[in-house]
Assembly symmetry: C2
Homo-oligomer: 403 residues x 2
């Protein structure tokens, strides 16, 4: 049995938490499990470091930011190693560079190319416990790189794959994935098992429990992830391949995201290439377009509506107004008080009428649907942000998710 | 013209100080000087990190301590690079590993074996400003090592040598080496030029301005060191080869150290090997013996007196009592209220009567000399610690050092 355990910032946030984290690692190691550990920076540390950089410069260079913030995980890894060695466990820290995390050169959002884990594997097989810094690697020129916020999850999955581990346990301050946000629907219940695809949908909707890239990577290599609490020793949520037990329910959960704004362009002369013409400049500005709906309106004209993160609303609007004028479109309008609500579940593949049931439920609550998009395992509606709580609760109940 | 500039912890202690340090680097670079920089950790940072380690363990392993504390310089190097880049200066940080500081594997007190500076040299020649982390390196197995407290001075001299620089400027919170401690003798004056040998004597006497190893290294490769203030743009002290200007004065300065204790063994049967027999066990306990005086007393018996750092007094005394008993010695006594006062100067080689003048001066002040040792450029006496101030002032005046 071989596992990779990943601990987030709160799990190494101070000396007491480091001791509790060491308890978890020690228990695994004493059970004879070959254990490797990935740690994040102590909570607050990355922001402390970035704060100093931002005091010095309003455009600090990404290469130096990576050198700066990568120290955070190095401190955590050393401290956890010290605590474990104090318990006579052969634990040794490794930086991203030392652990062989090779990445591309995109500072602050690098992608892992490969993990040269040969030496680490030998150490693990001998019963040693490597304590690796998450979130970071080294490019082909020897520069320190980081994977972007939340990248430690991806580091953990990548090293689990490289070490051919049986699983990757991600310890965090929540005890699993819930059928919806318990702050909105107190009847929300923990999901025992969830498929990679569903988890990806949850992650992309802002359920901040796992970085999407880590789930994609796990899915590609079929690496099971156990998302669990570092505070309580109880089972969490296992993210794995779709299996029979998942297919019983129509849907697995209800997700939402309030960080949305909607932009509509009306009356664009309809000919090939208009979508590219509209979205090209938006993408160039680094703005992430999410839901897109296009319809033919009257006599050879199109309407396009799409959503962007709320912080990008004004700049997207400016860009689109300019494009609209150039294309001879009729009008651009926008609304930054919208939100997204989604139902997610592999079960909807085998259950008919799921969409209809969603729309009926919202209609009964007098919630107006402004946009609809569907994927194989997700249906998303865009609604007024003031109706999000109502929609989430109604859907949670309608689909029998209440505990 | 090519220089290495080294900045200590107070020079990078906060965002404001980093800006002032950047002013110094910028001025050098704009003058067309090829400039490389070595930085220490922000003042207080190393202790903050060690504090956490010591909370976790009373015997933290040196390998992990090195991983931990080496982050301190990495943070400084990144922040200074960010500030310089903000001024459009092509400055890039390098960790000890990236800069090619190869060391042995003695964690927390590693010695530099060589510096692979080929790439760095190319960068410097192209006008780039590498910002290097002092104090650290990497061993042959890829482990992070540190050089011990104050090791950044040694890093700076080593990289200056590797880059064939014209000099190594060490910026610190004092503006140079003084003829004695100005807190004791307000008439103390700054020394413009001092030889490596004299500087070594000052350093070994606890003048904490430069690490001894950095001076030894500079001496071996004839690398001039300019010790100067990072707060004021005034000339400091140049440490260099002995030259004519240095020979005029009888002595260069008066140094002292209160951190001393004295142990005497009387009546040891005098035969070959007794010194080894006495000092072997003391060295094995890791205690640094300093001044040693041995005399034949009556009929084939020896007396040995030596000094140790005051914190080691009790354990040294215990060890020596045991040895004395085994060797059939007569008596062990000790005194931990002594201090060392030294006069230092290459000038004493060519001036006769320097020792006599020292003893006369102390006699006139009724200061009792308990031990005397001499080297080619230093005379040290051990006296009662309560008479240190008096002795330092009297010697400073007698040798015409008063400003």
């Amino acid at each position: 049995m071989r596992v990779v355990q990943k601990f987030g910032g709160t799990s190494v946030g101070n000396v007491d938490r480091i001791r509790k984290t060491a308890d978890i690692v020690e228990a695994s190691w004493k059970d004879g499990v070959q254990t490797a550990v990935v740690v994040s920076a102590m909570s607050g540390e990355t922001n402390r470091l970035l704060g100093m950089a931002n005091e010095l410069s309003n455009r600090p260079q990404p290469r130096e930011l990576d050198v700066l913030v990568s120290t955070g995980e190095q401190v955590s890894a050393a401290l956890l190693s010290i605590e474990l060695q104090n318990r006579d466990i052969p634990a040794y820290s490794y930086t991203g560079m030392q652990a062989g995390f090779r990445t591309d050169s995109q500072h602050s959002r690098a992608r892992i190319r490969n993990v040269e884990a040969g030496k680490l594997l030998a150490h693990v097989e001998q019963g040693e416990v490597p304590i690796l810094t998450g979130f970071q690697g080294v490019d082909e020129h020897g520069n320190i790189t980081t994977l972007g916020r939340g990248g430690s999850d991806t580091s953990a999955v990548a090293i689990a794959i490289a070490l051919k581990a049986d699983g990757c346990d991600i310890y965090t301050d929540v005890d699993g994935v819930y059928s919806t946000d318990p702050r909105i629907a107190p009847s929300a219940c923990k999901i025992d098992r969830i498929s990679y695809e569903e988890m990806l949908e949850f992650a992309s909707l802002g359920a901040k429990v796992l970085q999407s890239r880590s789930v994609e990577l796990a899915m590609r290599y079929k690496m099971p992830i156990h998302l669990r609490s570092s505070f309580e020793n109880i089972p969490g949520t296992i993210v794995t391949e779709e299996d029979e037990t998942m297919e019983r329910a129509e849907i697995t959960g209800v997700a939402y995201n309030r960080d949305e704004a909607k932009i509509t362009i009306r009356g664009i002369p309809d000919h090939p290439g208009i979508a590219a013409r509209v979205f090209g400049p938006v993408a160039e500005a680094g703005i992430n377009v999410d839901v897109i709906v296009q319809n033919i309106s009257e006599e050879g004209h199109s309407d396009i509506t799409f959503t962007v993160p709320r912080q990008d609303f004004q700049s997207a609007l400016d860009i689109v107004r300019k494009s609209c004028e150039e294309m001879g479109g009729r009008k651009v309008s926008g609304d930054d008080t919208v939100a997204k609500v989604s139902i997610i579940g592999v079960g909807m593949r085998s259950h008919s009428g799921v969409a209809q049931k969603m729309f009926d439920t919202l209609a009964k609550e007098k919630i107006n649907i402004e946009m609809i998009t569907t994927s194989e395992i997700k249906i998303t509606v865009v609604i007024d942000e003031n109706q999000v709580d109502l929609a989430v609760r109604a859907l949670h109940t309608a689909f029998d998710l209440d505990a």
